[in-house]
Symmetry: C2
Subunit: 724 residues, 2 copies
């Protein structure tokens, strides 16, 4: 479809830069040409001097008077930047109603004052800040990744724990392979190398949507798992808090949401300390632990005997492997955030990624080895990192510090999702795959709608699984490794197509990454299918279907609203088309008017509507709906007394309905002359107090709802304000 | 206030006839004169031949074509009765949407096809039908009245039961006195002698409202008590159903509501048999019972000894008396329904009332005496009428028949309230004391809104009191005797003022009724205050306050919308008034236009809105709100490409808000030139599928809400329909 291709062009042109203007995409060249052709045929004269008021508000010499219904409208709300342009000051955003103003004050107190669009450019990160901000998700997963692997192995008894070291070695190879593969992706996509973009760009829209669905599931689970693990770190240290796990977790998610709604920059600064603190704390555990082990000649402590609950089969090993693979979640963060780095963006991002993977391998391998050396086994009430901390630091402040740093980094890992999820939705929305509201940047230049959606989804998942990290882990790996696989497979296709210098080597690296990721994906999906992975296996296709339906809707809409060349003006009225040809014209000289004023009784409100209608100077018809003949006669008599200035049609509605007969009457008029634009002018009494509304029928609203479906019917509300 | 007096005149003129036209009250003479004066100054020419379509739809030679968005609009939906008048056929009431049509079909299946307004005249009753319809409330109360009295007396032990006969004698005197008093009221108010009308007419609005509040409480309690007693009659016969009391009662109320929504006539017919059956059944109990008693020489059976729980004090006797007085509830029914009789209405109504009171006295006195003779005492699990039935008819079908008739008449008594309550609300709404929606007659010529309100209130009370008759009785007498007292006191004032033939005798009769009712009222309120009567004592003043506030709102609104002479046209623009002088005019030549079109992007929808705006031929300004400077420049450039046919003002909104700055800008324009009528033309994309709406921002609706408060701002929606 041409419209879709045009939009595609726009996207490429705009790159992956996040801008508030994304809500107002530019016109494609063909649409622009159409616009000019329509403009040429426009016949209404432009009368510039005719405006009865200066639209720039500049030369006004009249002092503004506070109106009774509104509020003072000081001109200071707008400043004049250049001719024909005003700039709204911050005060112009405050709503007029008292309730609205109070709400705005509250919001600003919680989230801070609004940020101007121009501030968006300065939100760039240097490497030393980017590393903690983007790596908290990845590094924090060593807090639960080794444990997730051991918790599966121990099902086959203490003896099976020995498998942890070879499995860890395989995982380290995987981490390095995927890390190197992603380094290439970042270089190739300097404007943002998210799996959605890379897969969609090289493997087609469907693959991109599948990657996006996987990532979205992953982001939601990141928040849920990280918060669950963080709360577990707290309850390991303070077991008394265990019963409050669910409310605590929901509270943490709410606080994360509120903090993120304050904006990116504020959120970035609070990352630095806890992430480095966690790295230092875990490194301290490793150094002290291995030093102690070296003291006894690296002789492993034999673990307490645990009876085997299951046999040690291949499936169990695969389950353990894929559980350990959750340590790799979060590697995507850097590639999504390339444009957030300082220039040159891709090089800084690549360096940061290298450091991150190095730290990940170091912490993951070190912890797994030390756990083996100390002979620890998973316990239900306490995390393994906590056990390790207690063994390594039997006294002193180090153990509480380790737990505090773990808790904090896990919460910050959840925060990473608040960064990535809304950005992903933004890119999807810009391509028409997600609702457009996710394009909107809130007061604080953050994608508030996306953040709220993430918080709600994560809270639902968290509550549904009772905040148990172990129950959530099986769902985790599928989504993220789907995205990994598709992204790297996309890179393979890209190298084959473009064939730049050294493309064979690069292709090989990405292919290794893709194959390994695919193996983990299949392993995770099959081995943990019945433990919960089936939820993701079902959810991802459904999400892809939803995205496609959304895209189809927007594409149809885009096509329907696309500018088209006007048909040559027919000498006779056009034959009635199926869609109501009154909506065909975009030219003023082709609009044929009939103004219809429904009048229930003659009072100031209806006479004002009649006067407004007559002042438009178009053919006008008044309609009165009477419940019985006697009332119709009485009304006609009143109409005569008024002077019979407009043609009146009375409709007796013996069943006392008002909206139905009027809507059908208008439809009958429309059917008779489909080229007419019917303007229905409805007087509307505006009441000041909301609690007075139940005293009045909502006939205007019901009429508007009934007339919505009619093509070519314009509804005009003429308000009359009543002081009481 | 003059407006209030005028309305008063209308009411008197209209009498108490119930008509669907009450929603459209006629203009008062002064308003009519004003209308003529406004009409004389109207300057827009009437151009009859100009209408581009025949509004009578008559001479159309084009076959209607089904539209894509609506449905077939066959002209058969309207028939032409006389020139300039159409009559909507039944099909014209059916809504257009598929869901609406299904709902209509369902409603018609349950409640029957709609009734035409003309049918309202034929809903008159002859006496033999009126007696059962109107007396079921009154007569049914003998099913629980004597028991309510004895249940209090027995608290002082078996010995106190002997007081039942003298108390019954006093109650009989009271019944006769009130009955005779009401006979006079009916004669004096042949158009309906409800306490609200009589008290309001003679003692002032406050007394009328107090009587209305009392009656409303009474109607709600009638439903609750009757349903409770009816369910109790069932559970007396079938004790297994006792736990289901509350759901059974709510179900019965729902069935009553549904039945009544079908309309008055259908409801009337089902009254005849059960009421007569009940009277015959109770008379049979009395005849057989007294015959058996005569057989043993009228020697009373000594009741089983019951220990005294309280001392036999004056308060206890008064409580017993006021509990017995609930037998009189329902006497009001006839006086409310005078216009429902066949002519001559008042005479037939008076005769019917006489018969009713005679039957009441006969049944009440007979039952109380027989209970005493048989030595029965109140039992918690079984009604006294049931006990009496078991004693009188130990075998055979008579006992079940009695219980069935009792249950039926109690349910029908509840039904009486469904007749009276909405009529009362109708009269109150016509006088502006209740929400206007209670003026509306539904599909079936019944006051559906009032019926629904009654059913909801009664169900709430029933559930709140767990469906216990005994807990509800203390609340019962206060409201009804308040209405009795005020009504008869009003008659006393009336006789003193009018002094017709024999006024002294008539005054004396009404005065006796008033004094006796007042005594019962005070007795009930004081003696049963702590048992529940306080609820009514608190509720009645609150209701009166509510009615007054409602009336004040409508009066203010009526005054604000009243037609006023137009001010002489000023040569210079009028100075800005506080309420926005743009809403001052009712004359087309005084309307000064500025058309404002907010344009977000240039597509078919916005170009259509621009074309519509330009075609009106009024000064037009397009406004674009841009989130940042770059976007504003881009939009201006597109505007130039289109041809710059209309003046464009761009407003940069650096905080990315749209609705707030636009509303403030319009307010600023309005403040600069308050006499301008600003017409804001909003393009609105109408989606066919409701589930597509979440994909779009509701910016039109939010804009409309923000602009509601601005005086002189007309909002016009120009729809573009999208097929998908």
């Amino acid at each position: 479809m041409e419209a879709a291709r045009e939009r595609r062009d726009d996207e490429v042109e705009q790159g992956t830069v996040v801008t508030p203007s994304a809500e107002f995409p530019p016109l494609s060249p063909s649409q622009r040409a159409e616009l000019g052709r329509i403009g040429e045929r426009w016949r209404a004269p432009r009368a510039d001097g005719d405006l009865p008021v200066d639209p720039a508000l500049g030369r006004s010499d009249r002092r503004p008077v506070p109106t009774r219904f509104g509020r003072l409208a000081p001109f200071a709300m707008f400043t004049v930047e250049q001719p024909d342009e005003l700039v709204a000051t911050e005060r112009a955003n405050v709503p007029g109603s008292r309730f609205g103003r109070a709400l705005t004050r509250l919001r600003r107190a919680v989230f801070g004052p609004p940020l101007s669009s121009t501030a968006v450019l300065y939100e760039r990160m240097r490497k030393l800040v980017a590393l903690p901000v983007l790596s908290s998700d990845l590094l924090s997963s060593v807090a639960y990744g080794p444990e997730a692997m051991l918790a599966v192995l121990v099902l086959a008894g203490t003896g099976a724990l020995g498998l942890s070291l070879p499995l860890a070695a395989v995982l380290v190879v995987l981490m390095v392979a995927v890390g190197v593969s992603y380094r290439q992706t970042i270089q190739a996509y300097p404007h943002g190398a998210g799996s959605y973009v890379v897969a969609g760009d090289n493997l087609g829209s469907l693959a991109g949507l599948a990657a996006a669905a996987g990532l979205m599931v992953d982001y939601v689970l990141t928040v849920a798992v990280s918060v669950a693990a963080g709360v577990h770190a707290v309850t390991s240290a303070l077991p008394g808090l265990t019963p409050a796990t669910v409310p605590l977790g929901v509270l943490v998610i709410a606080v994360l949401l509120a903090g993120n709604l304050r904006g990116v920059r504020t959120a970035g600064n609070i990352f630095v300390l806890p992430t480095y603190a966690f790295v230092v704390a875990v490194l301290a555990v490793l150094v002290v632990g291995y030093a102690r082990a070296a003291g006894r000649g690296f002789a492993p402590v034999s673990p307490p005997p645990v009876p085997a609950a299951e046999g040690l089969g291949l499936l169990l090993v695969l389950r353990a492997f894929s559980s350990g693979a959750v340590s790799m979640t979060g590697i995507e963060a850097v590639s999504n955030a390339v444009p957030a780095f300082r220039p040159s963006e891709w090089r800084n991002a690549r360096t940061t990624l290298g450091w991150m993977v190095f730290l990940l391998v170091l912490l993951f391998a070190g912890l797994t080895g030390l756990i083996r050396l100390e002979g620890l086994v998973p316990l239900p009430g306490e995390t393994m990192l906590s056990q390790l901390g207690r063994v390594t630091f039997p006294s002193g402040p180090w153990y509480p510090l380790l737990q505090a740093a773990t808790t904090l980094i896990l919460l910050l890992a959840a925060n990473t999702a608040f960064n990535g999820f809304p950005r992903l939705l933004f890119f999807m929305a810009r391509a028409g795959h997600a609702p457009r509201r996710f394009l909107h940047m809130g007061d604080r230049l953050a994608f508030s709608n996306g953040m709220a959606a993430l918080a709600v989804a994560a809270a639902l998942v968290f509550v549904a699984f009772g905040g148990h990290t172990a129950s959530l882990i099986p769902l985790y790996a599928v989504g993220v490794f789907l995205a990994f696989t598709l992204s790297q497979a996309g890179m393979v296709v890209r190298w084959r197509r473009r064939r730049g210098p050294g493309w064979r080597r690069r292709l090989a690296i990405n292919a290794i990454g893709a194959v390994l990721s695919a193996l983990v994906l299949i392993t995770a999906a099959v081995a943990k299918f019945s433990e919960g992975a089936w939820v993701v296996v079902v959810a991802v296709p459904l999400l892809v279907l939803l995205f496609q339906r959304i895209h189809r809707h927007y594409a149809t809409l885009h096509h329907a609203l696309a500018l088209r060349p006007p048909a040559p003006a027919p000498p006779a009225p056009a034959p009635p088309g199926p869609a109501g040809s009154a909506e065909g014209e975009e030219l003023p000289q082709e609009v044929r008017h009939l103004v219809v004023v429904p009048v229930a009784r003659l009072n100031r409100a209806s006479l004002r509507a009649l006067a407004y209608a007559a002042s438009l100077g178009q053919p006008t018809l008044a309609v009165h709906i009477a419940p019985e003949e006697a009332e119709a006669d009485r009304f006609r008599e009143q109409w005569q007394a008024w002077g019979d200035h407009l043609r009146l049609e009375t409709i007796v509605s013996p069943y006392r309905a008002f909206v139905g007969p009027l809507a059908h009457y208008l439809e009958a008029l429309h059917t008779t002359r489909p080229e007419l634009t019917l303007t229905v002018i409805v007087p509307e009494v505006v009441l000041r107090r909301p609690w007075h509304r139940p005293l009045h029928s909502r006939v205007e609203q019901r009429l508007r709802a009934a007339l919505r479906a009619l093509p070519g019917v314009v509804v005009t509300s003429v308000p009359v304000h009543v002081a009481e």
